[in-house]
């Protein structure tokens, strides 16, 4: 019987703790909400520096709470698992399409975005969101090569190709991204195909090619910067933003869009249907569409802006950077990744087979 009494005390105690804690939490949230307007943004890291957020708060009185995700799929999973705290999210090209199809994004009222006209002509109607009904294009970039030119000398003006990875001049200091689609895309482009190749035979050949070089490279990693900094890697398959941030620290690191072509990606802002602070979200969207703000963000974040007056404000060196604003011929060799549908099952298996 003594046990039962102890159990009762224990259970009552637990109940009391839950009630008190819950009430405290509820009050804390309530007072938080009423004190100051908030905006909860879920973004990629390195995109929104603190000083820009502070500037926004000064202008509008809205406090931004920033949280990060490391992949589109993680963002998707969070929203689907019922995370309702986000007012603004940053899905990439293919994820925007998926979210629009599933009705996860709020249709935009263009009347509330007076700066929307700043967007360049060619991004007004992207494939994933014709007419920009749900998304606001923010940035774009590529997936290419970063090379430590102090260790791997290049002839002046030379634009290296994907052979740098697959017939590397410094094999044990070379890395590939740890990302199925990107790795297959690189090999496919090198072999003269495109990243959205659907032919099984071609994919099998790609796998065979990748298996052959697996032992030559040092590693697969999606975070090559730390290894580059220590010279453990001299040639890396990397996203342009990461690579250009590394290049800012050490000028001998150079980023290239390989001459055969590359994968192009774009990040957009969108308001999820579950957003609670919609008015604040619109204000923020309009704020980052402002020419000065967009220009500063692009310069600091090392991505290509989609905003015409923001581009006009950029320093000449940035405007003439061929990896950020490539010429038409290069642009024609950039590919967005398409949804491969059922083919993913096969590719998924190949990705495992590559590492057996």
């Amino acid at each position: 019987m003594g046990d039962q009494r102890i159990l009762k005390v224990l259970l009552n105690g637990m109940l009391a703790i839950i009630l008190i804690g819950g009430a405290g939490f509820w009050f804390a949230r309530k007072s938080n909400d009423s004190a100051q307007p908030v905006l909860r943004i879920c973004a990629w890291s390195n995109y929104l520096p603190q000083n820009v957020l502070t500037q926004f708060q000064k202008q509008t009185g809205i406090r931004v709470e920033l949280s990060f995700v490391s992949s589109n799929e993680e963002l998707f999973a969070k929203l689907k698992a019922g995370a309702t705290g986000f007012d603004l999210i940053q899905p990439s090209d293919y994820m925007s399409r998926q979210m629009i199809r599933l009705g996860m994004l709020r249709e935009l009222d263009h009347g509330q975005l007076k700066n929307l006209g700043n967007l360049m002509e060619d991004v007004r109607s992207p494939a994933w969101d014709p007419g920009l009904k749900y998304t606001v294009p923010f940035s774009w970039g590529t997936t290419g090569l970063v090379i430590n030119t102090a260790k791997v000398p290049l002839s002046p003006g030379e634009i290296p190709g994907w052979g740098m990875l697959f017939e590397s001049p410094d094999p044990k200091r070379t890395s590939l991204l740890d990302d199925m689609r990107e790795v297959f895309s690189a090999m496919l482009i090198w072999k003269g195909s495109t990243p959205n190749e659907r032919n099984h035979q071609k994919l099998e050949e790609t796998l065979a090619g990748l298996r052959n070089i697996r032992e030559n490279i040092l590693m697969f990693t999606s975070e090559p910067r730390q290894y580059l900094a220590r010279s453990e890697l001299n040639i890396s398959h990397a996203y342009s933003m990461d690579a250009l941030q590394a290049a800012e620290m050490k000028p001998e690191f150079k980023y290239f869009i390989p001459r055969e072509g590359a994968v192009r990606w774009a990040d957009n802002f969108a308001i999820p249907t579950s957003a609670k602070h919609v008015a604040e979200a619109y204000r923020f969207l309009d704020f980052i569409l402002d020419a000065k703000v967009a220009s500063e963000l692009a310069l600091k974040g090392h991505f290509s802006t989609q905003n015409q007056p923001a581009w006009d404000l950029l320093p000449e060196a940035e405007k003439n950077n061929p990896v950020l604003y490539p010429d038409q011929a290069t642009k024609a060799r950039l590919y967005y990744l398409e949804d491969l549908g059922d083919l993913l099952v096969l590719m998924n298996r190949m990705w495992a087979e590559l590492k057996i």
Binding site: I6, Q98, M219, L354, K355
Partner: protein, 290 residues
């Protein structure tokens, strides 16, 4: 059912907490995973609740069987290495004076006060191509180019053994601690040599500790994915990694669930068979000489 309810009532409150813990954090999640493994991945990346066995068909594809075989091979190798390294450590600790014993156990666990990821990067800073070890031997002129330890299969081994060793030492240590040393003397007196004493007297008495310790390290090793990623350069496939990828990058939860279910059920069957085997063997001779 009635019997079960009655039995639950008889349990002390502490067992209730454990029981609630087990159900909500172990059994329930497993059942959810099991249910998802029979569902279909809808085109949009969601789960559609239509019954299918296709995920299992995929999971038993030759490629994934090879992945499983490789994972077992690497984990088993690391477990055996842990045993070879860990047994003498446990033996020493069990025989040491109380002060030394306490000191030894503390030293064994001090690294675990640090975050797991940090410990793994610690290994990188020691064994990396530009790490302490390689810099030292290159300064000494023993070699011109660094010895490649990391980003190889050996790197994975090293990480697994380093990280799981204490979890194997402790169960063996507690088994050895209970072992009556006079049995060893008796065996020697009766003419057994050192090897015979070890294999016929000592080992049978600590078998349970060895088995539990081995399972403690082998099972989590199978699901490991951080160590193969960071120390193996993600060049070797591990079942844990393939599963994680299904959830976080491929958006194929049903297939990930099928892989997880196959692994969990396989391990459960293995443990169950072993328990049956032990029960049959258990008898009056289990603690004596054989």
């Amino acid at each position: 059912m009635k019997k079960l309810v009655l039995r639950l009532r008889d349990l002390p409150p502490s067992a209730w907490i454990f029981f609630a813990w087990l159900v909500t954090l172990s059994v329930l999640p497993f059942l959810i995973i099991l249910a998802m493994s029979f569902a279909v991945r809808s085109e949009s990346g969601l789960i559609s609740w239509t019954f299918t066995l296709a995920n299992y068909e995929r999971a038993f594809h030759l490629v994934y069987l090879k992945v499983l075989a490789k994972t077992i091979f690497l984990s088993l190798g690391a477990t055996i290495t842990c045993l070879l390294v860990g047994f003498p450590v446990a033996y020493y600790l069990a025989r040491a004076t109380p002060e030394k014993r306490q000191m030894g156990l503390m030293l064994l666990f001090i690294p675990f006060w640090t975050n797991f990821i940090l410990r793994i990067y610690g290994i990188v800073s020691i064994f990396g191509n530009h790490g302490l070890l390689n810099q030292t031997i290159m300064r000494l002129g023993l070699t011109d180019s660094p010895i490649e330890i990391l980003y190889t299969r050996f790197g994975i081994y090293l990480g697994l053994v380093y990280n799981y060793l204490p979890f194997l030492v402790v169960p063996i240590f507690s088994a050895l601690e209970k072992f009556d040393l006079s049995l060893r003397e008796a065996a020697m007196d009766l003419g057994a040599n050192r090897w015979q004493t070890f294999t016929r007297v000592l080992l049978p008495n600590v078998r349970e500790g060895i088995a539990i310790g081995s399972l403690f390290v082998f099972i989590p090793m199978m699901g490991e994915y951080v160590i193969p990623d960071i120390l193996g350069g993600a060049k070797e496939v591990f079942l844990g990694r393939v599963m994680v990828e299904q959830f976080f990058t491929m958006q194929d939860w049903p297939f990930g669930s099928a892989l997880a279910s196959v692994l969990s059920m396989g391990l459960m069957i293995a443990v169950w068979v072993r328990m049956r085997f032990e029960q049959r063997k258990a008898g009056p001779t289990s603690h004596g000489l054989r």
